[in-house]
Amino acid sequence: MAQTEIRPRHAELGLVDEDVLAMYRAMLLARAVDERMWLMQRAGKIAFIISGQGHEGAQVAITWPMRKGVDWMAPFYRSIASTMTFGMSAEDIITAHLAKADDVSSGGRQMPGHYGGAPYNIVSLSSPVGTQVLHAVGIAMGAWVRGDDVVAMTSFGEGTSNQGEIHEAMNFAGVHRLPVIFACENNGYAISVPLDRQVGGGSVAARAAGYGMPGVTVDGSDPIACYAAAKEAHERARRGDGPTLIEARVVRLTSHSSDDDQRRYRDPAEVEALKARDPIPAFATELRQIGVLDDVTDERLRAEVKAEVNAASARAEARPEPTTSDAHERVYANPIAGSGTPTPLEPVDGGSH
């Protein structure tokens, strides 16, 4: 399709046109799911939503080299596009948000945004930020000890990059050249606290040098640049050359979460300016420029995505709610009788109200 003089960037990286279109579609789908979550939240169907809007370009592209069923991922709460690129379906995501009984992430036990999926090699996420980074490193350590050809990837924000556990994780990965990719999605804010109050010196990537690993900063609104960094990182990990820290500069298009209102701490002008860095129109423009995308295709993809989200929502909503009969189960893999081991709660009659 491409009619440009120079070879398009993606071709240089070994991607064919179908690949970049598929990436674009993945971004559209993640955005559509995300937007649907907000609608459902406003409709009172979901108590809480934490969004990935603005991060999709980086997430799709950095996840792209990851091999499904082989590699592993320890995501964070904005990782809608990452987890979907790595195997989760729109229905999985929506089911988790609705906290249905058979939700693959947690069976309704966790809040929205706490992704996980044993079938997908996606490690179940908790809320304290940054803990997952050590899990990815532990998986990489496991693979290294066993001699398995496995790469682990983990994502986190720039505020989170200051947590001590991240330091310990990166250092350990650096010492043993473990096959792990650290993807920091730097959106400039940790809730209300801006980058210059979070990261001394302002660069997360600059920290890589202190662990003996490469640190690269990429424009997170440029999926091809992100892919290039991730491809290299993935190859490096597989070669046994160790970890890479990728800092993707992205934008947080929404408030921190549905509980936050960013107008309290961010200029209207600043918020307005974010739109110019939305990765989806940016990528669409690029794909049009290189002749990979046109109106017809774009409309077809958007229609497909919309239909997919509609169908996924309908199916997800129809799934059963959790009941309390097994609420005490699956606390231990091997429950041993004794005090402290969960048992069913006794029913109460409990007064007339």
Partner: protein
Amino acid sequence: MAQLNILEAIRSAMDEEMERDERVMVLGEDVGRKGGVFGATEGLWAKYGDKRVLDTPLTEAMIAGAAMGAAVYGLRPIAEMQFADFVYPAFNQIVSEISRIHYRSNGTFSAPMVIRMPYGGGVHGALYHSQSNEAYFTSTVGLKIVAPGTPADAKGLLKSAIRDPDPVMFFEHKKTYRMFKAEVPEGDTVVPIGRAAVARAGHHLSIVCYGYMRTVVLEAAETLAREDGLEAEVIDLRTLRPLDLDTVMTSVAKTGKALVVHEANRFGGFGAEVAAEIAEEGFEHLDGPVTRLAGPEVPGVPYHHNLEDWFMISPARVVDAARKLAAY
């Protein structure tokens, strides 16, 4: 007398203490311009500026450890943990350092500081925004632990905590933040650390509780009175460490029966200490087993409302447990 909710009471305690003593400062995540994720510090940043109301990086160990350093240096820091669930990165600083510096330095250093933490469930926060993790701290010698249940106690106890020369962990049940307003004495009124309150007088059994459970238990006590003619004496501990056992034992000596209620899981919970003390001290008085009513043995409050309701202690469950004990 002003009518304040607990959140307002906490905010006004901090404001008045910062006004009164320029050594008092607030630090934590989003406590500045945003005013905290629950709004506890709203307005303080504008009033006291960027340094005394300090937005820190997202690093709880640093918050606790730097607060301790500043306290040793002579300030009176109030450190906010955004949620009690996120205090664990600071655990080392709290239990190795903050609680021990006075003892280990033979009394020559101390850490006069407060760690404020929103805790508790019933707010759709699931496993990691609902924890009642007081038992990790109540066993730690060197700390004082406070968990108020009313606006007046919240304000008066926070003032005491800020002025106390020892480190105080201040547990704020987030479900109670805006739950109700109540009278709070105007002006500089402190509530002493280490004194329980008789929240309701009664003579059939004693129910010991704290924090949000005070509200739940008081509701249950009304039902018991109305439906069963049982007059429960409700003790709101307010301070968990040191424990005001005198007030508890005075009640138990009268009623002969004790029910201890808390939201955290039962095994190893703070109720174990209260129950064990009552059982040992009150052996002569007890005419029924010291009974605990606590959360189920699962690793956190689950999210789906069916599951969350299952987890939380309701007035109905308190009524049920009280009836069984009273029938003894």
